[in-house]
Structures are given as C-alpha cells and as structure tokens.
C-alpha cells in the first residue's frame, strides 16, 4: 500500500510529461527496485500496455462499462478518473478493479447479445461448449460419435428449428465407389447442379455448387477456354459439355496437405471432411488440381423449406462459416445403396455410378468397354472419375 502511494506520487510529474510529449518514454523515477516499480517502469515505455497504477486502464474500464451500460461517459468519466486517482490503491487493488470492470462490461455485453440470450440460451451454450471441445471424429469411440450426433441434432433444432436426422453410417464392406461421365450425352441441362444443391445443403447466398459443367469448344480439350457460368439455351452447336466435381482421388493431394488432419479417405473411397475439425486454412483448396473444394466465407444461408433433413455427419449436414466443403458422392445416399443426386437427376443418362469392386457393375463395364480418360492424368492423383464418349 505504502509503495503504491509512493509510486503514484513519484509518477505524477513524469506521467504528465508523458502525456504532454505524447508518447515519449519517461525514465523510471521510482528509485526503489520494488516489483511494482519495475513493472511500472516497463509499463510507461509500452504505450497501452498494462500498468500497476491502473490510471489509464481504469479510465478505459470506466468508459467501457459506461458504453456497455449505455450511460453518458463525458462528465462522469473525468470525475470517475478523479475519484480513482484520489483513492489510495496499491497494485493488487488496481488489478482487482481492472478485472472487475472488464468482467462487468463483458457480462453485460454477452448477456445482451450472446448465446445466453433467449429461453434456450443455456442449453445452446452448453451444447456448443461440448461440441467445441470434442475430438477428431476418427478417434472417437462409438459412444462419443453417437453423443456428438445427438448434440448436433439438438443444436439444429434449437438454432434453426429444423429436426435433422444426422446419420453416421460407416463405409460398406467390399465397396469402392467409381463414377463415369459421358461427354457425348451431356447437353448442359444443369439438372445435376440443381439436384446436388437441393440434396447437400449448400449456402445459397454465395451460390456454392460442387458441380461445374464446362461448355467446351469442340475439336479440343482446352478447359481454360471452357466456361462454367453459361446460361442460355443448350446444347449449343459446336460445343460439348463436360462436368467436374470432386473426383475422390485414390492419391488425394488435399488429404496430404491438411495441417490438422480434418480430411481423409474413407474405406469406400470417398474423401470426407470433418467440418468441426477444419480450421479453414484452405490449404486443401489450393492443393486440389481440379478446383473441387469450396469454402464458406460466411455462415451458410439456406431457406428453411429447402434444408434436407436427412443428413450425414461426414456428408451433407449444415456447415458453419470458415470450413471447406466438397462433393462426397452423396454418401448419405450411396451408403444406403442409392445413387448420388446428380446421377439420379441427369435426364440424358450421362452419369454412371457404381461399385468398382463388383465386376458386374455398370462402371466396370464402362471402364472395360468404352474409351475412357481422366483429367490431369500426369499428376498421379488417380481420380475415381472417368470420362467417356459414345
């Protein structure tokens, strides 16, 4: 206490000098090598840093509290400052005052706007807290997986009013999914694009679409000259149409570069993303040679009546801001034996899907009997998406 008073008195003149000279570092005037004195000396030279006297920050705390509570801060600020300066306070007292002020301000702000607002606030905050600290999906036990799915379903109900069914079906045994695309049959109708968006709960406001259909000039294969944002009557004579999406590479570069292990290839060959583990660095987006990955620059907005309730934890559940997403071959459908939405929607039958490990499957027949090729073969990514023509 006595040291605090001494320091205050000794600092009054230098502090004023500091304020006059606007930032010139004043030499420490406190002779005693007390801990308080040492830290005060350091604080003087660091503008805006913590101090032991609590003069400036106390003013900040006072104005912050005033702003948070909506009180006028001009006249009371100086008198509050005066009161604080007059009151003899030591280092510990000053710190306690600071902490109390900031906590009060924070509590008021959080109560007004944060998750605790509203009747479900407490439950939402609790679920969000548990979700934040869960581990990577691959390391969870079955009970933990079930628990996180329950929490996510409940959060979907609380946050969006949507009763979601989030499945977590494992990869079926003896299955490796493969895809073939007939560039003679595609006419650019874009039914696949629409069906994909309706199935997979992408953000509408930034128009996230996993599938890109390129309108290409006939006579060559120049993807750089193809346009994916056409909107006119199709097919245009002299053009052909080629669709891309995630090719679920056997040797995926996106999986190799993820710094946190948020994306991996499942046993059925689908490359999946754990959205709650993704940190949004977009390294995978840079690594993908086929531009397959999409990033949520903002929180996704989906009209409530268009949210697909049948979701999968690794597939089409509603994502959050700041995570990467991509085509997953509709694993919420394909792990139940159905076709992806794009395959089902294509009116011309240009898309073929199936199990590569089944020698009687349509995809195996196409690979054996049609002239097939893949994009960027020389990169060694081994995509499981082949193109063929009539």
């Amino acid at each position: 206490m006595k040291f605090g008073v001494t320091i205050l008195n000794r600092l009054a003149r230098p502090l004023a000098a500091v304020m006059r000279r606007r930032g010139k570092a004043a030499d420490g005037k406190a002779e005693e090598p007390a801990p308080g004195g040492g830290s005060v000396r350091r604080a003087e030279t660091a503008p805006g840093a913590e101090t032991a006297t609590g003069t400036e920050p106390a003013a900040d705390a006072a104005t912050a509290t005033g702003a948070a509570t909506g009180l006028a801060t001009d006249a009371p600020a100086s008198s509050a400052l005066q009161q604080v300066l007059d009151k003899p306070v030591g280092r510990r007292g000053a710190l306690a005052f600071l902490a109390g002020g900031v906590a009060a301000a924070g509590t008021v702000a959080a109560a007004a706007t944060g998750p605790l607002a509203g009747p479900d606030g407490k439950e939402k905050a609790q679920l969000a807290f548990q979700e934040y600290f869960k581990g990577n999906y691959r390391q969870m036990t079955d009970a933990e997986k079930e628990a996180t799915v329950q929490r996510l379903e409940r959060l979907s109900q609380l946050r969006h009013g949507i009763k979601a069914e989030i499945g977590r079906e494992e990869a079926p045994a003896g299955v490796r999914f493969g895809y073939a695309f007939n560039i003679s049959k595609c006419k650019g109708f874009l039914e696949c694009v629409k069906a994909c968006v309706m199935e997979n709960n992408q953000d509408r406001s930034t128009n996230i679409q996993y599938i890109k259909i390129f309108e290409m000039n006939q006579g060559g294969m120049k993807l750089e000259e193809g346009t994916a944002d056409f909107f006119h009557q199709v097919p245009v004579p002299g053009k052909f149409y080629m669709g891309t999406q995630c090719f679920q590479c056997e040797n995926p570069p996106c999986v190799d570069v993820c710094p946190v292990g948020a994306t991996w290839m499942e046993p059925d060959g689908i490359v999946v993303i754990e959205y709650d583990w993704c940190i949004g660095c977009r390294y995978c987006q840079a690594a993908c040679p086929y531009w397959a990955r999409r990033f949520n620059w903002k929180a996704p907005e989906i009209p409530k009546d268009q949210i697909n309730r049948k979701q999968h934890y690794l597939g089409n559940r509603v994502r959050q801001k700041g995570v990467v997403e991509k085509c997953t071959f509709c694993l919420q459908r394909t792990r139940a034996g159905r076709n992806p939405a794009c395959v089902e929607a294509c009116p011309t039958g240009a898309r073929v899907f199936g199990n590569l490990l089944d020698p009687d499957s349509e995809i195996r027949w196409v690979l054996a009997n049609k002239k097939v090729f893949r994009l960027k073969e020389d990169l060694g990514t081994e995509p499981k998406f082949w193109y063929y023509m009539d």
């Binding site: 079926p172 045994a173 049959k185 039914e191 268009q306 159905r338 009116p347 020698p359 049609k370």
Partner: protein
C-alpha cells in the same frame, strides 16, 4: 598397378596385393564367395545368375501397370466373395411400385427393364384393331386414334409403320425384321436391330438411365422410356434452358470458373 614406394623408404615394394588370405593365394577365394561356394556347386550358381540376367527386373512401366488403379481394382475384386453378401445393401425398397420385366439379352448379367405397356394410353390394341388397317381406314368415317403421329425416324424406304408394328398380332405387339413377334415391354430388341451399338452400350450400362441405386437389382429404362420412337431422339435431349437452383442469386462467376 605398382605402388609407389615411400620416398624415404627406398625403392617400391612391388605390385599392390588386392587381398590378403591367411594361407596365401593358392587356397582360392575367401570370405562370402567361399561360403557360397561351399553350399552350392559352381554350375548351380551359374544357372541362378543366368536366370536372373534373363528375367531381369521389373521395368518402371510394368510396375506402374501393376500398381495402376484398374489393376488394383481388379485384384481387390477378385479376392472378394459375392458382392451383395459383402456390403449387404439393396435399393429394392426404392423400386417398390415399379413394374419391370426381365431383360431378354444374352451375354450380360441379368437385369430388369421398366415395363412400358402400362404407359400406353389405348391398350390393348385389339379393342379397336378388329379389322385390317386398310378396312379401318376406309370404315365409318370417324376419326381414328393416332393418325396425327408423324413418322420422322428414317426415310420412308427404310421405315414405315408396318416395319415395326405387327399387324398379324392385331397391332398389340411389335415385329422384328424377320416377322417374329416382340412385346412392347421388350422393344429394345426391335430398336437394337438397327441401333446395335447403342443396344450393346445399353445392356452394359454406358447408355440409358438406371432407376434407383447402384446397389440392389439393376432396373433400367426401356428405349421408349426416354426416346419417342416416331420422332427420335425424343424429349429427353431436346434443346432447353438449363435448370435453375431456387433462391440462388443470379448466375455469378463462381469460384475459379473464370480461370
């Protein structure tokens, strides 16, 4: 080669000795060579070396082929038992309510085809076709059912109504080129007579539309399920405007689309 002697030690000491043996060079090779020779007689060793030289190592191209996706796929699938038993999935529940027939094709694994007879408005045809067509045409003067059909399939020397429609069967069936009867549900046999490449692709899976699900029973659309036989290639590939995603903003340049 002769080793130069130490300048201070006088003249050179003669040729360098390549290896030393305890008992001198008359005893033969030492070390590992001796151990191997003690196990194998020299002719066997020569045979082994010759075999290695002739077979050679795997070239990079061969290794790439062995490790190619297709080769690995075929190896994995060869090791597996029956596919359906392995994954146990089926899309049969999504096909309930669809009328299907067993496909009459040879050389392909069994599959089913969506039936078409139920989609024909005026079926059975013998309800009207009680007399030969010429007599019907010359008859009471009332307008008959489908004279508005325009045949735009092939030149008239190639194709007429009677080419495909079977008058002998009372118009209730189709006819193949040799006159044999084929039902409407199996019209693919008729179309495949001229469109054999498409028929082959269709049976294999590269052409046409599969209903519901990679797993479970394979059910595909009939030819006439997508194509109008009187005016092919029919409605599915007719020019139109692309589908629009509802509630999306007007078509913007997407991420990466401009590059």
């Amino acid at each position: 080669m002769a080793r130069r002697g130490h300048p201070h030690r006088g003249a050179n000491r003669g040729p360098a000795i390549l290896w030393r043996t305890g008992a001198g060079r008359s005893q033969g090779p030492s070390g590992p060579a001796r151990a191997m020779l003690s196990v194998l007689p020299p002719p066997a060793l020569l045979i082994i070396l010759a075999a290695l030289a002739l077979t050679g190592c795997e070239s990079p191209a061969e290794r790439a082929h062995r490790n190619s996706v297709r080769a690995r796929i075929e190896r994995s699938s060869a090791a597996l038992p029956s596919q359906a038993a392995a994954h146990g999935l089926s899309a049969a529940s999504y096909l309930i309510g669809k009328v299907t027939v067993k496909a009459q094709v040879t050389g392909a694994p069994a599959f089913r085809v969506e039936a078409r007879r139920g989609s024909i408005a005026a079926f059975p045809c013998v309800d009207c076709h009680t007399k030969p067509v010429e007599k019907l045409r010359a008859g009471q003067g009332r307008r008959a059912a489908h004279w508005s059909i325009e045949l735009a399939h092939a030149p008239p020397t190639t194709l007429k109504c009677a080419t495909c429609h079977n008058a002998e069967a009372g118009m209730g069936a189709l006819r193949l080129l040799d006159g044999s009867r084929v039902g409407f549900d199996h019209s693919y046999r008729l179309c495949g007579q001229c469109h054999s490449l498409q028929a082959r692709d269709w049976a294999g899976g590269a052409h046409g539309k599969r209903l519901e699900g990679w797993a479970g029973p394979r059910v595909v659309r009939n030819c006439t399920g997508c194509h109008n036989p009187h005016d092919p290639p029919g409605p599915v590939v007719a020019p139109r405007w692309p589908a629009i995603v509802p509630n999306a903003p007007p078509k913007l340049a997407q991420e990466g689309a401009s590059h």
